[in-house]
Symmetry: C2
Subunit: 321 residues, 2 copies
Amino acid sequence: MLRITDPEAMRDAIRRLAVRGAPAIGIAAAFGTVLGVRSSPATTEAAFLEHLDNSCQRMASARPTAVNPSWALERLKARAQTLSGRGVPAMKAAVHAEALAILDEDRAICRRLGEIGADLIRDGQTVLTHCNTGALATGEHGTALAAVFEAHSRSKRVSVYATETRPLLQGARLTTWELLQAGIDVTLICDGMAAQVMKEGRVHAVLVGADRIAANGDTANKIGTYGLALLAREHGLPFYVVAPRSTFDLSLASGAEIPIEERPPEEVTCVGGQRIAPHGIKVYAPAFDVTPARYITGIVTERGLITPVTAETVRRTLGEG
Amino acid sequence: MLRITDPEAMRDAIRRLAVRGAPAIGIAAAFGTVLGVRSSPATTEAAFLEHLDNSCQRMASARPTAVNPSWALERLKARAQTLSGRGVPAMKAAVHAEALAILDEDRAICRRLGEIGADLIRDGQTVLTHCNTGALATGEHGTALAAVFEAHSRSKRVSVYATETRPLLQGARLTTWELLQAGIDVTLICDGMAAQVMKEGRVHAVLVGADRIAANGDTANKIGTYGLALLAREHGLPFYVVAPRSTFDLSLASGAEIPIEERPPEEVTCVGGQRIAPHGIKVYAPAFDVTPARYITGIVTERGLITPVTAETVRRTLGEG
């Protein structure tokens, strides 16, 4: 249990991945900003809005790839601005209320993602998933895992292959734990085993989450996702992304514009504090990759299933633009 | 440094991967058998040959996928049989001499693999490799890495991306070390990063070793190889296997007949003795996979480059059958 009472501690928790998962860090960034501005010394609305803006920029810079923090923080700022003329205390209260609303909505949205996603899983099927997309990555329920939980609660027989997800092993540590807790059949594999698992016919579909989705459906997600999408295509398996509207960044025409975070070499060269490679070794450690829309069978959003995935179907399903 | 003086210790070293790499375990199995029969109490040639046969069976059963041990042990048996009528001491000496010959030949063969393989690497290129295929996997020089060492010694500028190769991290622990020792530029990545590295144009070719190659060129190698071959194909990169004749098993028509070893769950759930997944979690841990010949651009053998890879070109290049 991590109790956080100041914004820098929240930013640090996001940076070092004590909180992770795109929806969860959106919520965390919102509450971190609330912590940052609740005791703001600003006496004028203009000064408060500037303080809020600075706090948001600081919080958003913790991690660059997921768009959910920026989306949540834009909501806080917009909400404060609507209170123009009502005074600083009202703005502070509104910012807090908006953060709570984001959390509440995330819960409802993830439940809806689960409901739509569960329709894609047939009784007796096995899905392969990557990284962690459960309650530990969101306000509640999860994204890709929400579909599995919901299928299970509808009494469908569903099994999961969880990739360990190097370097930080979110699959091995978190996904396995969440599925074991839920009583769902889960098998852990190393990332490099996925192709063989597919070839042996052990899985029927791949379900993953997302950190940022461009207007054309190109999807940034945990490193390794792009490779899984190619392997799924090669083995004739459907490849689904499950993500809320807040993970879409319609300001980006394609995935080429999504900034990809590189993580410190130690996340690769050390496991649980233990060194696994020679000192001085050069490391390349992108934390995310971008899967082109053409490899994605469908994107489950709370507004419906986007399939096939094109700029046109993204726009139409989201009902925007 | 591991000093082994009895055959069961050698078998154990092979089983727990203190010695690993297909050519190296072929050599190790041969010397393990020498240790097993050198003080054989057999007084008749028939009894000695039976003892030798039993020793070979025991040693070959240490690990099922690589064919090099069986190949080496067949040589020991055949050599002993040629001494028929010369007495047990002569047979013992011959078995020992044959093991030494296998080691010597492996060194020469690996040098030749390096020479042929180096021709495939152009000045300034970067290759991606998987697992460990250097001196630590053979008698000397290596297989896929021999090509890199030889290219480097010909003053070609060559760089390497080394996949860490979960679960046992031979890439992170051994390949990086060998390349650092040789002064060759090497970058470590997690297995799940290979697709992104290819997409970014960071590598020009993939070079791997092999544990067993069927008559049609289907190749069993470290788990993860098959996925890399698919990814290489998708990114238009050549995918080469580098392996000695002793890794071919022409008795198998295709890779479907190659036995795939499953390793204990702890190799996945523990890293350096540290637990990375919940207790009680189910694990699937195939140690190898099979890459169909159609994904392999070429196989470098000491008898030449097999390309394209078909039953016909395998037979012709090996000059057999």
